[in-house]
Amino acid sequence: MPESIPKNSVGLVTPQTMHFDTPLELDSGHTLNSYEMVYETYGELNADKSNAILICHALSGTHHAAGYHSMEDKKPGWWETCIGPGKPIDTNRFFVVCPNNIGGCHGSTGPNHINPETGKYWGPDFPPLRVRDWVRSQACLADKLGIDQWAAVVGGSLGGMQVMRWSLEYPERLRHAVVIASAMNLTAQNIAFNEVARTAIRSDDDFNDGYFLEKDTIPRKGLALARMVGHLTYLTDDLMGSKFGRELRTGDFERGAYNPVQFQVESYLQYQGEKFSGSFDANTYIMLTRVLDYFDLAREYNNDPVQAFSHAQCKFFVVSFTTDWRFSPERSQEIKNALISAGKDVSYAEIETPQGHDAFLLPIDSYIRVFNAYMQRIAGEIES
């Protein structure tokens, strides 16, 4: 709980809800006849509406990107390190919009909502989504907010995929695309990790083929296991070594006695799993990992990233982290190379850090400084 709100935080924020009655045509052929999107905004929209930034969240992200909901909150929003007064996404200069994606489980229409046509929870019958569907719904939100063109669309990991899709689907509606720790598609290894997570959830008896809300059960064990596997892959061997080593939480190795041990790293993972399983919907998790697996930026462009990016009109900033093995620097370099070949403006930074994929959320000095330099350039363009 913050005793007082730090000066460089956006402070107390209140989520808002936008209702949409215009049907949303989905890539799967399904239609969402009506839906709601929960979102937060920080900063002030300027008179000519040219300073708006869209934040696209990743797998476990929400609309709560910065600030606190109440003085009782233990933690601020998920990207507090980068959003706020004087931070790279400077709320003194930008108007920041962060929606919870549809299909999510934190307020926007998703599997844990009631399907108005059946009166039952959507559950596993929520229509399958693609990144393009999210981008389309975010564009509808922009319409309602009166934002014709984003100063930048920004996102890390799965969020970065949305950013790239924005640049191709609505090229005239953004001036800058900031793609952090992302890739144009997942590797086989990444898809494999996602399948382990899905299998963990499905094999929990409380999952009930996805109809757990109707049966009033929650597949907490499966969700926790899914999260533990996922979380592991966002870290690195070195980082876990320095953070936990072989430190014990309980027990010892004394000879002649048996005091079972629990390593600190075990306890940490258990905690992460339990925390997540109490706040996330299992159907959403399965669907989000599917969205990740299906994403392939260049599929509709003859599998040619250069051809794909030739449709973009914005400028790009691509960032990767040296020890990120789920979205490795090589994958970001592919993005950068395709953009250069397509003749697009792009800057690329490769941040040296031991933190792995998680790094994009962390206050790493060199990362914050290059990110800040790029964002201040955008702010300068608006204010000049």
Partner: protein
Amino acid sequence: MSNRADLDILQKWIRPNSRVLDLACGDGTLLKQLAHSRQVQGYGIENDRELIIAGLNNGINVIEQNINDGLNDFTDNSFDTVIMTQALQVMRRPDLVLEEMLRVGKQCVVTFPNFGNWRARWHLAVRGRMPVTKQLDLQWYNTPNIHFCTVRDFEVLCQEKGITILDNAMVSEQFPDRSLKQVCPNTFAETAIYHLSK
């Protein structure tokens, strides 16, 4: 870098609206100038964190990369001109970097400090010390400049590699370019500027 007359001179070789890759682009001064004067589409490569930030502040496209690792990410002839100013002497293998530049670029521009300059010669010949001049102001043990060459050395390398010298210019604080070229540039030039093609 105190004397950057080389940047003004080389601009005449850059065609308007062309694609330019600037290796070791520093704070992006050259690319910024070329964007204004020649409307080039430019990318700068740099691996120093502070210079990358300076380049971003200068509004250029900065790519973080170590040139010593080669230019594998870039396809043959994908740029009209590949430029490297005052950095050849910092490279682990200047000859291989030159090869890469001429593979990626249709033409190249290279500028480097001339180690055959009379001041350098004086340091070595009279004082018996490695040269420390206004332009090259670090000691032998802490300088990033590990591969010095003279104007003549460079031209020999070009000849051996079959590199065509399209044009060149010589810079010195004391002498204008024209007289320098006529009177022994290898002795009087402080900075040599070369326009090359395959």
